[in-house]
């Protein structure tokens, strides 16, 4: 069946079986390989994408459920060639080692900051609890997300 949705600002139409995983459709059919497969069972968050602004595991979503939805992957974070502040903070803080978990962390962090521009460190930790880093670089990842937090009282970027 044809499935239509918006991917990183662009309308796409793709032919897929209804129960195909969104992760496979993104990676195999649309060649959007930012989302990674870590566990394939909802545990690791490497496949995280935003569907209508909410962070979800694309390995657990049958593609039929995203008909008409707006999807953002790590490929859509930068605008006009400029990295998103959270991406810049990851670079500055050295928050990526092998990098497999990074696309998932980045989009989860983006969803968090979109909704709550001033999360506490604890709130950031809770929001990112579903993203695992096999290289265990958690402190730098949390540092980076906290660095990307807009200080209270300043205009957003």
């Amino acid at each position: 069946m044809p499935v239509n949705f918006t991917l990183n600002g662009r309308g796409v139409s793709v032919e897929a079986t209804p129960m195909a995983r969104l992760l496979d459709v993104l990676r195999e059919d649309l060649r959007c390989t930012g989302p990674k497969e870590g566990c394939g069972e909802g545990e690791c968050g490497a496949c995280t994408v935003l569907v209508d602004g909410r962070a979800v595991n694309s390995c657990l979503i049958p593609v039929i459920q995203v008909e008409g939805a707006t999807i953002l992957t790590v490929e859509g974070l930068a605008t006009d060639g400029r990295l998103h502040p959270v991406q810049e903070a990851f670079v500055r803080c050295g928050a990526a080692q092998c990098g497999i978990c990074t696309p998932g962390f980045l989009v989860t962090a983006r969803a968090l900051l979109d909704e709550n521009p001033h999360p506490s460190r604890e709130e950031a930790r809770e929001a990112l609890a579903g993203n695992l880093c096999r290289c265990t670089g958690y402190q730098k990842i949390i540092d980076a997300v906290c660095e990307a937090i807009v200080p209270v009282g300043t205009a957003g970027c």
Binding site: M19, R21, E43, A55, P62, A129, G130
Partner: protein
Amino acid sequence: MLTCTAPVHQPRSLDEAIACRAIHPFATVLAGGTDIMVYLEAGSLKPSSLLDLWKVDALRGITVQADGVRIGALTTWTDIAREARMPAALRDCARTVGALQIQNRGTVGGNIVNASPAGDSLPMWLVLDAVFEVRSWHGTRRIPAAEFWRGYKRMDLAADELLVGVHVPAVSGDVRYRKVGTRLAQAISKVVLGLRVATVDGLVTEARVAFGSVGPTPARATAVEHALVGRALSPETVDNAVAALQIAPLDDIRSTADYRNDVARRILRAELLALARG
């Protein structure tokens, strides 16, 4: 790569969903998919067809009514966690289901009908005296949570019925939720406790105590409840209530019977003492 090629029925309205269920009583119902997709991936579920509820918006959302709150079956844990009018303990519970990605997708109805003994919300429905609303082509039935789960993954839900909502009555007392797993997030419970205690003039007038993960179904600990009602919440009452607890947990991959027995008593004591301190 998931290679499930089963056909999917995708109703758009509640009437259509109910009619679809009558015609396809053997289709696997799909809500947020956070349980179903894992079973499909593992190969433990091979559906001949699926009935996807995701586009039935009438099943979503929380409405405040004169006598309590009604939660649509398709309401997600994130929706519950963000709803200020929900009992705080139920919001706490919502925030422990998996992690954010799971809470954004996993639904109340999915947790109830998946009926895992470790389902985190199940003891909460028991202590909140929740009533499940199930509907079929023949009409609507209302089933108290305490009568819904009949045995391991067996429940009072016919093949042509869908769970459409949960009614949480306005109940009295303090409600508490406590989950013990290997870590805070993304961990299936080893023991989960729901608790509600109402007092008038220092005496317990109503008590609800329910555990998950310590038996084939979530269940109320009625002997503990009896040991509380009519008494002041003193250290002696708490001792007696804890002593009255009768559970027969099993060893499994997540924990041992001994550990569960011990931890169930410890968290029951800790939560009752916390309530006693006010």
